[in-house]
Amino acid sequence: MNRVWLALTSVLFLLLLALSPWAVALRAFGGKGVLVTLWGTVDLYGRAKALPDVSWLGYFTAFWVALALIAAVAAFLPEMRTRARVYYALGLLGVAVFALEAYLFYHAVWTVNDAAMAAGARRPPLKRYSLSLGAYVTVLYSLFLLAVGRLQLPGGRALLVRWRGVIVPAVSMLLAMVAGAAVVWLLKDVKLPEGGGTLTYLAAKLDLVTYTFQLLFGPLLTASGWFQSLLIATPLIFTGLAVAFGFKAGLFNIGAPGQLTIGAIMTMLVGVHLANAHWFAGLPDGVARAIFLPLSILAAAAGGALWGAIPGWLKARFGAHEVINTIMMNYIAASIFLFMIAANEYTFFGKWTLHMPFKFPGYEARSYEVAESARIPLMVNLFGFQQDTSGAWTGALSWSLPLALVAMVAAYVLLARLELGKRLLAALGAGVLGYFVGGFLPGIPMELSPKLASVRLNGAFVIAAFAVAFYNYYMWRTRDGYELRAVGLAPKAAEYGGVSIAKKTILAMAISGALAGLAATHYVLGGGIDEYRLKQSLPTNVGFDGIAVALLGQNTPIGVFLSALLFGVLLTGGLQLDLQLGISRELVMMLQALIVLFIAAGGFLPRYFTDPILAAQAEEGVQGVI
């Protein structure tokens, strides 16, 4: 680790520690807080009655200054291992002291609240208190010192390079957050109390920025926040997989919005018009469900596959670049979409009239409702809960899904000696068995909180999970997937090896499109847009979000899943951001764009992080590379 970088980081750390609010004792609606800083209290709220006693904060400040100084000086120690030991010790000490500070702060807050309650207050005076940027930087700096310690030891840099698949996205994410913070800083004013000077202004701005990100990551702290994030992540998983699938085969599929749209139209045709057709009216419920639910899901995939295969074919046959064609097809799909559901009667050349049965009567552009038999149940239903007449969600927590999951994993692990295809089939069978056996077991009776039950997370999430598994299996465990990756990495070599690039291009675009099309199951069959219909408000933009998801997840199955979840969290938090601070949710879109930009630039990290060949040399410790 370069000494200059270490010194700069230490200075930045001390600067942030000095200027930022260290904690927020009380936060009112609208974001106004009572800030605890190292140099005093800043009351932006203006009506704080009681404050926690943080007189001990000065001692800790002295500790952190000393820590940073020792860290800077330790860089000059001659012996490598001594340096490493010093940094490990400093980092661990820092984490421990941070924990102590956090405990003391919360203890101080609780003391004030308990005292007020004992004195007869109706509600505690301090609410929505939290640590803030000043405290966060201390723990971040400690972790940084631990990393520095590891880097002093042999193989430290090789370790970084080996983890570049995680480090590049993480650094890009961090940079995007800094840029997002700058935008919030510029575009959002703060109101200062009377007589507030520059220090107050800086603290208020830093608090605003910190609170912005606290809100964005806020859903991680509650159960309903998690479920809401999973709900928003579901379509992102599909589109992220679609884009990742294309990338792996050397194709850039920007057409996920169009593929999603056509998938939605197809699933609407099957789920609404086929399933409601009068000649199926006599079918028993169970049979109808067994036919139309899978059929509707397949229709979504088929629609997307068709819309993806066309640009694939155009590329294979004519060499037309898939990027422009997929973009054009997004616009065309949008036109078809409106054509289908905006009106039922169209006149051509003033003479011929076309009648169509797809638009539901009324002002709004939307389709008819999906038949009961083609609807994907909500997760709360799958877990065995029903809404009773009073509106409460009661039932018994069913063992079906947990048991199915356990059975699947158990079968997969235990049957390690089988061939992979059979092993997966067996696992799948065990899962189905587990599901039905679980259904017969007596569940745990309980009532869901209304907040949790109001989240309309539906079974499409399960389909998304299977899509992730499919991507992993197909791309890394089958011959087709191997050939696709070969085409993506080195088309000429793959062709020489007997792979038909034209066929693979069409295949890859079709599967990629099918994955994007499956996102429609969430929106149309799962009621993802509030109703079980196709509506004009179908958020096709998630197709573009998929690009960010795929890049942040580095095109790996687990990476795509996690980054979709991350964006789900951010978008969920974005609602609160709008509500509390009046900052538009578009901030999240901007963060996504910046993440894509920064990842494309390799996180602005040295080349040996991003270039596989230089990275391999760096791992072997070739001289002159680093």
Partner: protein, 311 residues
């Protein structure tokens, strides 16, 4: 509207005018894109650059005229739209510079870098609009738009005048030769003492300037405000026109006229009952795809396009 009414002057004259107007945006953008692509940098960010140019022109013109309007509603100040156009070009240049840094210096995949800028152009404008106007979809309507000379905005004349100018610059000046050599064979150009990086930077920034100009034309030439997503894919169509026009100014002129005509037809037929508007709106995009499929085989891109140069 009957089929016969399509062949009357009342329909054809406005159609011709609209064609010239819708060609202007595409032409300015495509000519800009030509510099970038001829130097070897794919510029899919044209779409985003148009949007940023349009946003800058509309918002800056509105802010500049506000004090004058406070004194006299309807005040015309001649320099305001021109300064706004200039600012749009500056912002376009800045976005071009970002694309250049990421794709030339950091050797990013140029298509991904461009897509990132397009995504940024989809998100950032609403934040800016919310800051100035408490509205995330459109800016305030302004009074001081670009003037019209003989029925057309000056930028229309400029766009068509730029065709011979770019041709001259690209094929008759030493700088044009260097630009093309950098896009065809950067190693050879480097050996001859041409600064590959600097040439590419200039070219990409220039494409940003022209795309910004096209955006300004949209927001304060055609309309009098910025509307979200107002470029509606024209940056991408311009890119297709570039391929169809074989990266040559004259070819690009022909291609953009074709696409401009398709768009004008869509606009002119929009109100009538000849075709449903939703069908008509898809026309330019379908034509773009057909043209790409039919002509791309005969169109040879600059050899080094899309490849970062490794010194």
């Amino acid at each position: 509207m009957s089929l016969e009414s399509l062949f009357t002057a009342a329909f054809l004259v406005p159609l011709l005018q609209t064609t010239l107007r819708s060609t202007t945006t595409l032409l300015l953008t495509a000519l800009g894109g030509m510099f970038s692509e001829r130097s070897g940098v794919v510029n899919i960010a044209l779409e985003g650059m148009i949007i940023f140019g349009a946003l800058t022109a509309a918002v800056s013109a509105q802010l500049m005229e506000a004090p004058y309007l406070a004194e006299n509603p309807g005040a015309r100040v001649w320099w305001i739209p021109w300064v706004a156009v200039l600012l749009a070009m500056v912002v376009g240049a800045f976005i071009g510079w970002i694309h250049a840094v990421v794709s030339i210096k950091y050797k990013a995949d140029q298509i991904i870098s461009g897509t990132a800028i397009n995504l940024l152009a989809a998100g950032l404008p609403s934040l800016v609009l919310a800051y100035f106007y408490d509205n995330t979809t459109a800016s305030k309507e302004l009074v001081n738009r670009l003037p019209e000379w003989l029925g057309f905005s000056p930028l229309v004349y400029l766009a068509f005048a730029l065709v011979p100018i770019t041709w001259y610059v690209m094929f008759k000046t030493p700088w044009g030769l260097r630009l093309r050599s950098v896009g065809e064979h950067p190693e050879a150009a480097d050996t001859m003492g041409i600064n590959v990086f600097r040439t590419r930077y200039t070219a990409v920034i220039l494409s940003g300037v022209l795309a910004g100009l096209a955006g300004a034309f949209l927001s304060i030439g055609v309309l009098n405000q910025f509307v979200r997503n107002m470029s509606a894919g024209q940056g991408f169509i311009a890119l297709a026109a570039l391929i169809f026009g074989k990266w040559h100014p004259i070819g690009v002129l022909g291609a953009t006229l074709l696409f401009g005509f398709a768009k004008a037809l869509a606009i002119q037929l929009g109100g009538g009952d000849i075709m449903p508007p939703t069908v008509i709106e898809a026309f330019p995009f379908i034509i773009t795809m057909l043209v790409l499929a039919g002509f791309v085989g005969t169109s040879r891109p600059p050899k080094a396009i899309g490849k970062p140069y490794e010194k």
